[in-house]
């Protein structure tokens, strides 16, 4: 398929890798923000093809993984109500809350529907005027346009039986939190290409200058990821810190202006808890005052629900890049995709799931790469 096959060409990948190997002289650590890029990296073994002194640190860019436990518990309470049809993206359905997950609520009789698009939830609200339809609106900036348009549409249609449980998160404040951390090892970032299709690249300019860190907006196919890594490494080797766009076929400086207008109308910036990381100021979106009547947390009075994380799951360390998934004692033992302890083992963008799916045989082997220095 066009735009997929040609950006996966192994001959060109080898050329970029050779180019990287010929230029890298020092050890460098780069973080890929987006879980989609983590999957490309692990699936294609890109981390193992790079020079040994280049380390890729997996970032927190998996929306399912960072959705706080208490929001999931609130979702579970709402979903169990008899009058509710609870709609969620499939990824979210198996993420464990404090005691159960959405699929178990469904098994116990709750009406939980897995939807492809929030528009599907609006259609359900139209078809079931006697039921309360709730959509679990999570995601980064990429998903916000869809969720925002859905609320607008619900208002236009006069739907009083539709609401959103919102837990939106934003990338730039998370990058700031990582850079401000005293244990930060990140020297350059691959920024998430699809977030930038919506918000543009210009959002990252202040971070580049304030922290003197290279940021390269990067796509998702193997050659895209390699090119993002190459440009970041070349900046580091040259002592430069610049904002570069390595995904120009999809991303512009300004982003999608129409989407930004609708987002600003429907959402407002708020402080947000990130699962495994903690509170990051001004790092999320909630419904704006104009759309507060669509807020499921108010409608079902669940704002008071709080929760405690499992002590056995080190997903917080994984999400902050402090450890790789196989360094967690529970990885592949008590925590598997079938019985996950934490969200990163569930999501198609979770780092733990990526390692489990593509690396567990290598990890089980005695000579595992990544934990020992490589010359």
């Amino acid at each position: 398929m066009k735009y997929l096959d040609e950006f996966s060409d192994p001959v060109l990948a080898a050329r970029i890798l050779d180019d990287i190997a010929s230029r890298v002289t020092k050890p460098w650590s780069i973080m890929e923000i987006c879980g989609g890029q983590t999957h490309t990296i692990i699936r294609h073994g890109i981390d193992q093809l790079l020079p040994g002194n280049v380390t890729l640190i997996h970032g927190p860019g998996c929306p399912v993984c960072v959705t706080p436990l208490e929001i999931i518990d609130r979702a579970l309470i709402i979903a169990a109500r008899p009058e509710v049809i609870f709609c969620t993206f499939g990824d979210m359905a198996r993420v464990p809350g404090s005691r159960t997950d959405l699929l178990q609520v469904k098994a116990a009789g709750g009406d939980v529907r897995l939807v492809y698009s929030p528009l599907d939830a609006v259609r359900l609200a139209q078809q079931h005027p006697d039921r309360q339809v709730v959509f679990f609106a999570i995601g980064f900036e990429t998903t916000a346009p869809a969720n925002a348009m859905t609320v607008r549409l619900a208002r236009q249609l006069g739907l009083s039986n539709f609401s959103l449980l919102v837990s939106h998160v934003l990338v730039p404040p998370a990058m700031t939190a990582i850079l401000e951390s005293p244990s930060c090892r990140v020297q350059g970032f691959l920024a998430a290409g699809h977030v930038c299709t919506v918000m543009g690249t210009k959002q990252y300019e202040p971070l580049v200058h304030r922290y003197r860190v290279p940021i390269v907006v990067t796509g998702f196919e193997p050659l895209d990821v390699l090119e993002g890594i190459r440009r970041t490494l070349f900046q580091l080797e040259d002592g430069r810190f610049e904002l570069e766009n390595a995904y120009p076929r999809a991303v512009t400086s300004e982003g999608n202006a129409v989407a930004q207008t609708v987002i600003n109308e429907v959402f407002k910036v708020c402080d947000r808890q990130w699962r495994g990381i903690g509170l990051i100021p001004q790092s999320g979106w909630r419904l704006s005052a104009a759309y507060a009547d669509f807020d499921a947390e108010e409608r079902f009075d669940v704002r008071g629900v709080v929760a405690q994380e499992s002590a056995n799951c080190r997903s917080g360390d994984v999400l902050q890049g402090a450890i790789t998934p196989p360094e967690c004692p529970a990885f592949g033992q008590e925590c598997t995709p079938r019985r996950p302890l934490g969200a990163p083992m569930v999501s198609s963008e979770g780092a733990c799931a990526a390692y489990y799916q593509f690396r567990r045989i290598d990890i089980a082997a005695p000579t595992r790469r990544g934990s020992a220095p490589v010359s």
């Binding site: 060109l12 698009s117 980064f140 998903t143 869809a146 919506v198 120009p248 076929r249 999809a250 999501s347």
Partner: protein
């Protein structure tokens, strides 16, 4: 979740005042809302996320990037390098 999938616009129509399209993802077809990329035309490619087109894929930029990849390392080879 944030995975945007590239696809080709195969059909465009209006539904309740909103432009919609059928987009082909290498054989799988989905209905997609074009509210955020209203100038998409038949035969063009777009990145789709949870039922919404987010951006038009720019063919010239894609070709330029591929040309950059193809030229990588060739100069060194011609100069008798690696």
């Amino acid at each position: 979740m944030c995975l945007g999938i590239p696809g080709k616009v195969e059909e465009i129509w209006e539904q309740d005042g909103t432009r919609m399209a059928t987009v082909d993802f290498g054989g799988v077809r989905k209905q997609v809302c074009l509210a955020y990329v209203p100038d998409l035309a038949l035969g063009e490619y777009t990145i789709v996320h949870v039922g919404f087109a987010l951006t038009k894929l720019d063919e010239a930029s894609a070709l330029e990037t591929l040309e950059l990849f193809r030229s990588t390392g060739l100069l060194e080879q011609e100069m008798g390098g690696t």
